[in-house]
Structure formats: structure tokens, C-alpha cells
């Protein structure tokens, strides 16, 4: 399966429901559409169960949390668990504020997530590890990234995708790496959000969590690296990146 997942996504258009943040929702929808997935977005708890039922996988992105949104996050997570739909958490900047810490803590203690995708600072915050980052960017700690990811995976009985210059994907037993990251991908607003929802699309296509995590990283970083060719600017990079996501094949990721 590992060898044909992108082809399968482009054929089957798995419905990928993202509770998105208000800054990057358009980029996430475009990226999902570019790889062939079918994006849906909503923040209304009234339709959470209907949309989860229709979806093949779900992502909770906590990039612009509000008290009102917490009802939606809870409703969607509960429905995903009840209906056995893959569930991805993107705990954006979760260490930056007490409010975000509490929301992520509440979600993780009440619901089972298939994958958590975050940078080192975010994964450290969830794992309860003191880390050198200031909680908003990826941070620059010297700790062992694999140990960090494993500790978070173990704590929440999940698969962790710790993204950065080298991505670490682990379920506590199996661990994979991906080292195709580029500087532009790191500074582009929304790269992580896109990665999280693409991992959900791959889960929705039937990939196991470690495979979905690794292939998602591989897909996004390969597209991101190819997109830097012939450009120095953010605008043309973003255009190329979306073009690359449209055209990339399983063979390109092997």
C-alpha cells in the first residue's frame, strides 16, 4: 500500500474534514485539493456528527482557539472516536499560552487521537518536557528528538509526527525519519497545518498511522524542496509548492 497511496488518494478523493484555524484554512483546502483529497471545513457543533460521518478522516487544528470553538472540538473528537474515524491533532503553538495548553490537555485526556503532528516545541509541551523553544516557533532545544517524540507517543498512546529539519515519526515502537525539509517550508505560514491535514487524508485512504505520518512528511517536504528551484521569493514558492502537490507521484516519494 505504501507504494500507491498518492495514486489512491487521487482516484478516491477521501473526504477530509478539518476544523481549521482562520488564518490558514484556505491554504489547507487548496493543498488537500491539490493532492486529490476532498476538503470540508466547519466550526459548527450542530453539524459535527453529520460531517464526521461523511468524512474519511478528521483533523483538529487549534491555531485560532476560542471558548466557542471548544464545543466544536469536543463534539468532533467525540464523534470521530464513536464512529471510528481517524483523528489528527495539530496543537498549534500549544505551549505559548495557558489557554492553548488547557484546550489541548482537555482534548488529549478525553479522546483518542490517531496522530499528533507538531514541531519540537509543541510536542515537548504536550509531553511535559522542558524545552528550549519559546513555544511559538519550533524552538531550538538540543534534546533528543526521538526520545521526545516517543515520550509524547507513549503518554497519549498515539503516533507522533514531530516535524522539523528532520521529521521524526513514531508510535513508540516503530520509528521513521524524513530529512527532506527546507528552510522555506519552515518559515512559510501554514506548512504544518497543511501537513497535518494531508496526514489525515492519507489515514482516510487507509494508511496506518506511521505510514501516513512518514508519507505526509515525505510528500510535503519533497514538494517544498522542488518548489524552491528557480525562486527566491515566498510568492512564487507558494505557487510552485501547490503545483508540485498537484503533480507529485508515488514514484517521486520512494
Amino acid at each position: 500500500m505504501d507504494n500507491h497511496l498518492i495514486t489512491a488518494v487521487r482516484q478516491n478523493h477521501p473526504i477530509t474534514f478539518t476544523v481549521a484555524n482562520t488564518v490558514t484554512s484556505g491554504k489547507v483546502a487548496d493543498a488537500l485539493s491539490a493532492i486529490g483529497a476532498s476538503p470540508i471545513m466547519s466550526t459548527a457543533p450542530e453539524e459535527a456528527a453529520d460531517l464526521v460521518a461523511a468524512a474519511h478522516a478528521v483533523t483538529l487544528n487549534i491555531g485560532t482557539p476560542t471558548a466557542e470553538l471548544c464545543k466544536e472540538l469536543t463534539a468532533v473528537a467525540a464523534a470521530a472516536n464513536r464512529l471510528h474515524k481517524p483523528l489528527v491533532l495539530d496543537p498549534v503553538a500549544c505551549g505559548a499560552t495557558a489557554f492553548r495548553q488547557q484546550i489541548n490537555h482537555d482534548l488529549l485526556t478525553s479522546h483518542q487521537f490517531t496522530v499528533i503532528r507538531g514541531n519540537a516545541g509543541e510536542i515537548a509541551s504536550l509531553a511535559g518536557v522542558d524545552w528550549d523553544g519559546h513555544g511559538i516557533d519550533a524552538g531550538s532545544g538540543d534534546g533528543d528528538l526521538v526520545t521526545l517524540a516517543e515520550r509524547c507517543a507513549s503518554r497519549y498512546q498515539t503516533t507522533v509526527v514531530l516535524s522539523g529539519p528532520v521529521d521524526v515519526i513514531t508510535n513508540g515502537q516503530a520509528t521513521r525519519h524524513n530529512d527532506r525539509g527546507t528552510e522555506r517550508l519552515a518559515t512559510n505560514v501554514g506548512s504544518g497545518d497543511i501537513l497535518s491535514s494531508i496526514i489525515a487524508a492519507l489515514l482516510g485512504q487507509g494508511a496506518d498511522p506511521v505510514t501516513a505520518g512518514w508519507l505526509g512528511c515525505r510528500l510535503v517536504t519533497t514538494a517544498g524542496k522542488n518548489a524552491t528551484k528557480g525562486t527566491n521569493g515566498l510568492g512564487s514558492w507558494q505557487e510552485h509548492f501547490l503545483d508540485e502537490l498537484t503533480m507529485i507521484t508515488d514514484e517521486d516519494l520512494a
Copy 2:
């Protein structure tokens, strides 16, 4: 008039108020700006009457509905009817959830819409017709699209723009077709939202509903088809599409 509407929009900049969804609001604003219209967006009922009064036409896009937004939808629709401003409904994915069905039903039974713009699945849901689609994408039913559009137009005494590979525009008596659609336009997130608000801009410029619906379809599909030249990717297509919307003339659409 039919022959000079784009020129008129570029000269007069009709103020086009969209109650937008949170995923495509930026794209809709850019598309309106590219054709020369002047976009405004808001979700606050407190300023609904002021903005409707200032606007030449109004679109209600129900792509990311919430209980809170319902107050806004009602306030804007009521003001548009009271002030005799053209009013367009985009019932995004209205068949996908009971929540969306109820919101659209409430709007359509309490207010008069000038145009409803949706894909086959959405128009079927509003018309109460059993349709083959799953309610989120355009669906793939084999029913007669013209009959479907006419039934919806008749039910709500309005003009229906049913967009798809072939667009059908009908007020129940007069019916027009447009067949310039492209695959890329169909999968691009926000194409329908853009079309709905462009139809509003044309209504705001004084076009009758069938003309506005047909010319809006013609404009968006011509730009969408031209934009595919020399590109295989979503990123460059989106850039070209916006360029085409900027430069297209009445002559290109004849």
C-alpha cells in the same frame, strides 16, 4: 446591456457585500476586485442594515454556518428585501447536514432571493429532489438538469444558476446554457463561491437575473479555461485565473 456589463463593472465598481465563509473569503474578495467590483465583507448583524444600504448587491454564502451566523443571515436578507437590493444565495453543501438544510430552508421561506447559485446536488436538495450525489461534491446523478433547475426556480420563485460541466440558468420561463466549464474549475476550492459573488456584482450593475447568471458563468469559465494554458498545477492555475479575471473583456465573452 448584455454587451457592455464587464466594462460597466470596471468603470462603476459596484459595491458587492458578501456574507462570506471563512475558507474562501479572501479568494472571493480578490476575484471581485479583479473584475472591478468593490468587495465588502462582514458577519455582524449590528452593521447589516448599514452595509446593505451602501451595497449594490448582496450574497449570502453558507459555507461555514454557525448558530451565531444565522442572526447575520437573517438580518442581511431582511435588509436586502426591505431596501430592494439584489440578493444571491450560495447554499454550499446544503444537502450534507441537517443543520445546513434547516438554515437554507429558513432563509428561502422567509426571504426572496434574486438568484440561487449551486451545483446539481445543492439545487436538488433545495428542490426536494432525490439526487444521486452525496451532497458535498456536485454529485453524479443522471436526472435532467434543466428540469431540476426549473423545479427549484419555480419552488422559490427565483432564478437558478445550476453550475457544472454545463451551466444551466433559468427563471422557469427563459433558460440559457454555458458549456465552457473545465475540470480544474470544478475541483478548485472556492470556484462556486467566486461565481456567486460575481453574479451579485453583475446584478448590482443592473443586469437582469438570467443575464447576470449566464454572464457570470461565462466570465468564470472563460477565465478558468484560459488559465489552464501552459500549466498543470493548481498554484499557477489560480494565479492565471486571477490574471484572466483582471483582463477579460466583454468581447471575450460574446
Copy 3:
């Protein structure tokens, strides 16, 4: 300092917190990221104090106001004043509705702003001056722009950046001008929002208000003018604009 501010922003990545509107938040985040700043966005009063404490500067953008958002605006403004962080106001279309007028009035009478950035119609509305514009676009009054900006600066004891074909930056005593504006920048949705948050980033890097205002205008208009080369369309202009923001240097702005 005036000569090295862009270099400094690209080295230090000042954290720039924007309470953004829902239409242009993505564009503002991209523009901040392109010049090297580190954007954060949030609308939750629960985390206002934490984010202001982490930020080097703050912008309140009132482009899509709601009753709920007012709590956030008040919480962020109060925290910025208490923690002595630079605070920028972007009073989008403040003259267009009574609701926006009230929100901006309440903010300006209760909190101290470092910079107010608006077009002529918006600054006139805040200054209580009868102006020829209709309150949504920049308007076309014949009044003296410097007098208008000075009156607003004096009324609120702040620095005003009045942007338009010629930008006027004044604190009531010192006044500077910038005349690199282009038509495309004026019609592009979000140009003003981008400028406001870039001025905040420059304040966060330690620039004084008049310098930050002037350099922000210089930066945005130079990038905007350079971006028009070789393009007639909005899509390619937006891509070039973001590329220019990525590559522009202090020398380009001298």
C-alpha cells in the same frame, strides 16, 4: 537605525501579534513572514495577555468586527498599554457603519495607540472631519491631507499614517511623505492591512513611530511598484509582491 531596520527584522524575527480580520489574515501572515517577522494571530481574550507578553508589537485590525470580537480588542489593547508594547490601529472602513464608528471610538478613548494607519476617509472619520469619501474606499476629498492627518494625530496624541497615492506620516510635529504608491496596491484587497502589521513589526524592532510609519509605507509601495513589472493581472502581481517583500533590502528603500 533608519538604515538597517529591514536587516534587523530579517535577523531578529520580531513577534508581531495581529488581531486580524477574517478576509485578509492569510495575506497579512504571509507578508509579515516574507519580511522576516514572526506572525501570531488570535481572537481569544483568554490568551490576550499571554500573547501580548510574548509579542514585540501588536495590531488591532477592525476589518470584520463582531460584538464578540470587542472583548478581544479591549483585552489586547489593555494588555499592550499595561505591558508597554507598541500598538497599531487599523480602523478598516470605520466611517461605513455606526457599529464600526462606535468600536473605534471606544478603543481610542480608552487606550493609547502608537500608530493609527488608515486611508483618507478612515482618518477623516476618526478626526471628525467631513470628508468627500463614502467611507468604504479611500474617498476622493480635496481637503489638505497633511492637515487631516495632523488633526487626527493631535486628537488622539498618536502618530497617523494616512496612506494613499501619497502617504502622509505625522505625529503632529514631524511629518514625512512617501510617493511611491501604485494603482494596483490601492485596489488590491489587504494592502492596507499588510501595511499596518508591517508598521507594527518595525515598531517591534525598535523604530520610532514616524520612522516605522514611513519605512512601512516605503517598503510596501516599493514592493508594490516593483511587482507591477511585466504583469497586468492581479494574480501575478500578488505573487511578485510577496517575492519583492521577501527580497527587498534597506538599500532599496533609501
